[in-house]
């Protein structure tokens, strides 16, 4: 028997929904639609051509109606989008204009539709408003659907898929994703889309692995190709070799077992054997992630990153836009706390079409420095956060504070924002807690001063480690220096925690160090009050906390303080705690 040797191809995309699946590819979507022919329509055939277009629109409408009637209960909110699409089908700017174009230019319906849709799309894309920009995308989906009907190309109904497959598409519209039967779909792979796309949100809601934004997926993958999807790391492997298959099959099984185990226990309180409740919180970026935090037993949101709403858009988000997003999260989590971190990047760089050159951006104008230099950008965010505080338990967290005057300036601006809300008659929590992110070595050394101006500290270990060792962890040649357990870092955390105890303020941790259960004994011993991490890490850390005793970890710290290298400390941790370390925790790293 001849052996056909297919070459293994690895693609890297956006890890949009965690998990691993192995299966056959099933391609759907708009391939072929891009090839639109143009031809002349004579006077006598014009009416026939217009009728052909109308029939296609009716066909598209019937399809959408059938889909909206079959939308499962839990996806009901997406049926609004489908209804909007149904209205758009007959919108004058699309429908009447296409008919006019057929008539006036004597062209075929496909060409006319393409022309009109492109015009409308580019008009929407040019509007400096994130929401309206996205509507260009609705127009694309609607015109695609008419196009399929026109060209008679076989738009496969996802309901008709009979075997379990991995769906590969250029893109999936809400209408497409809403008719998916979970039993048939093992995973999603798309050329377009990101973590905020509907496909990603739905994949996470259905707990199906998804890798999106691969760009070349539909051109690299053929129907029935064997695929491995690792939605945790964002990797897609086409035609994997035997060895790769075995490796990922093992990982898949381990992941499944891990998931079952951790979900089972995740709602248990993270209380140590000697009765201390250590709060385990989730780090999130999108409001949609709140459900994972709740499902996996989070005690609140320890870090709500707010950069996302500033990315890939032509202008800064409005106060109301920000407020709506914050409020959504705050209301769902209430009465549990939501810690909102203010903008942690250089906003000008994030907003499309504006760039500023900095030789060394990590040491440049970003986070609080940028915000203080741009009150016009910062104030709307402060007001939005304050307004959200009226709807639940909000704490505000300021990133990259490196000197005393920065926190004073920041608090002043916060106060001004609060006063402006007073004059506008808008409600906010006057006692909202104010936190300082400790992530620059200078902030560690002046922790006692900063503590006078803060209700809590949150230690951001990722940046603290990078800035302390002057090492870029993304640089492979020096990444070995990036070690959370180095005595330098342990001592800094200890110093910050000691200051907090003395000043009687709370100390939290929200870096990756908090999410690895091997570090938990040290963090408990050092007296960190709350640990915040990616929601998926919470169950393992909670389980670790439940097996520990605070009293014991405190005496363990004195042993840790005697060690001189990171590997000594790691060895000590392993020898003492490996028997209680939750299994498979490493899967998420």
């Amino acid at each position: 028997m001849p052996i056909t040797k297919s070459k293994e191809i690895r693609l890297k995309g956006i890890n949009a929904s965690p998990g691993i699946c192995i299966g056959k590819a099933y391609l759907i979507g708009s391939e072929g639609v891009d090839v639109v022919e143009t031809y002349y329509i004579g006077d006598k055939d014009l009416q026939k051509e217009i009728k052909r277009f109308k029939t296609a629109v009716k066909g598209a409408k019937d399809e959408l109606r059938a889909i909206s009637e079959n939308v499962p209960e839990d996806l009901r909110k997406y049926s609004d989008i489908i209804e909007t699409h149904m209205v758009l089908l007959k919108d004058k700017m699309l429908y009447d204009k296409t008919i006019d174009t057929i008539k006036n230019e004597h062209v075929n319906a496909e060409w006319a539709l393409r022309k009109v849709a492109t015009d409308v799309k580019s008009m929407f894309k040019s509007i400096p408003d994130g929401y309206l920009k996205e509507r260009a995308y609705d127009i694309e989906q609607v015109s695609d659907r008419i196009m399929h009907n026109l060209m008679g190309s076989d738009r496969k109904n996802l309901k008709e898929i009979s075997k379990r497959v991995i769906l590969v598409a250029h893109d999936l519209s809400p209408a497409d994703t809403s008719q998916i039967e979970i039993d048939r779909i093992m995973g999603f792979v798309t050329d377009r889309g990101g973590r905020a796309s509907h496909t990603s949100i739905i994949a996470r809601a259905l707990e199906i692995p998804a890798v999106l934004g691969l760009e070349t997926a539909t051109s690299s993958i053929k129907n029935d190709d064997l695929l491995i999807i690792d939605g945790t790391t964002g990797i897609v492997i086409i035609n994997p070799e035997e060895q790769t298959l075995v490796e990922f099959e093992e990982r898949r099984i381990r992941y499944a077992e891990y998931k079952i185990a951790f979900i089972k226990n995740s709602q248990l309180r993270a209380e140590t054997k000697d009765g201390v409740h250590v709060k385990v919180m989730g780090n999130i970026e999108l409001p949609e992630e709140v459900s994972s935090v709740i499902d996996l037993g989070g005690d609140g949101i320890g870090l709500y990153r707010t950069e996302f709403q500033y990315l890939n858009r032509p202008s800064f988000p409005s106060e109301d836009q920000l407020f709506t997003k914050y409020r959504e999260v705050v209301e769902i989590m209430a009465p549990k706390p939501v810690t909102i971190r203010t903008l942690d990047i250089n906003g000008d760089k994030a907003i499309a079409n504006s760039s500023s050159d900095e030789e060394n951006p990590a040491l440049g104008l970003r986070a609080i420095r940028y915000c203080l230099s741009r009150p016009d950008v910062f104030k709307p965010q402060l007001r939005a956060i304050l307004r959200a505080s009226a709807f639940g338990n909000v704490r505000i967290l300021f990133p990259l504070i490196s000197s005393y005057h920065e926190i004073v300036e920041t608090r002043k601006m916060l106060k001004e924002a609060a006063h402006s809300l007073d004059s506008d008659g808008l409600a906010y929590n006057k006692n909202m807690e104010v936190g300082v992110m400790i992530e620059v070595p200078s902030a560690v050394t002046i922790a006692d001063l900063l503590a006078n101006e803060a209700d809590f500290f949150s230690i951001g270990t990722n940046d603290l480690i990078q800035y302390s060792f002057a090492v870029d962890r993304g640089n492979k040649q020096v990444a070995y220096l990036y070690r959370a357990l180095d005595p330098a870092i342990i001592r800094m955390i200890k110093h910050v925690s000691d200051v907090c105890k003395k000043k009687n303020i709370k100390v939290f941790m929200c870096g990756e160090m908090a999410g690895d259960p091997i570090n938990t004994p040290i963090l408990l011993g050092l007296g960190i009050d709350e640990l915040s991490m990616s929601p998926q890490s919470m169950p393992a850390v909670k389980s670790m906390i439940r097996s520990l005793e605070v009293k014991e970890t405190r005496s363990f710290i004195s042993e840790v303080m005697e060690k001189v290298t990171a590997s000594d400390i790691l060895e000590l941790l392993k020898s003492r705690y490996s028997n209680i370390l939750p299994e498979q925790a490493s899967l998420w790293k």
């Binding site: 209804e83 909007t84 758009l88 700017m93 409308v120 929401y131 309206l132 509507r135 709506t324």
Partner: protein
């Protein structure tokens, strides 16, 4: 004055949080389609066809926008009122 058709216009404020977004625009267009004359939305001198969702959207009306509704013929005053009422109710959101 017989036979001369009067224009009709009314001012209204967008109060719902999301502004004139797609779903709201769709609701508006549904009603506007019943008019016998043309219904317009005017914002800062820019005019959009109230029966076209896309045209409405292209005006970009966030919460707090003051718009003028106008009908080419006063026989459509009840439709204009219906649209006004819907906008004032925040589109029932």
């Amino acid at each position: 004055m017989t036979g001369l058709k009067k224009k009709l216009s009314k001012q209204v404020l967008i109060i719902n949080e999301l502004g004139l977004h797609a779903r709201a625009a769709a609701k508006m267009a549904e009603i506007a389609k019943n008019a016998t004359s043309k219904l317009w939305i005017i914002k800062d001198g820019e005019k959009a066809d109230a029966s076209s969702v896309l045209d409405i959207l292209s005006l970009a009306c966030p919460m707090g926008t003051q718009i003028t509704l106008s009908a080419d013929n006063e026989s459509d005053s009840h439709i204009l009122d219906a649209v006004k009422e819907m906008v004032e109710s925040g589109f029932g959101e």
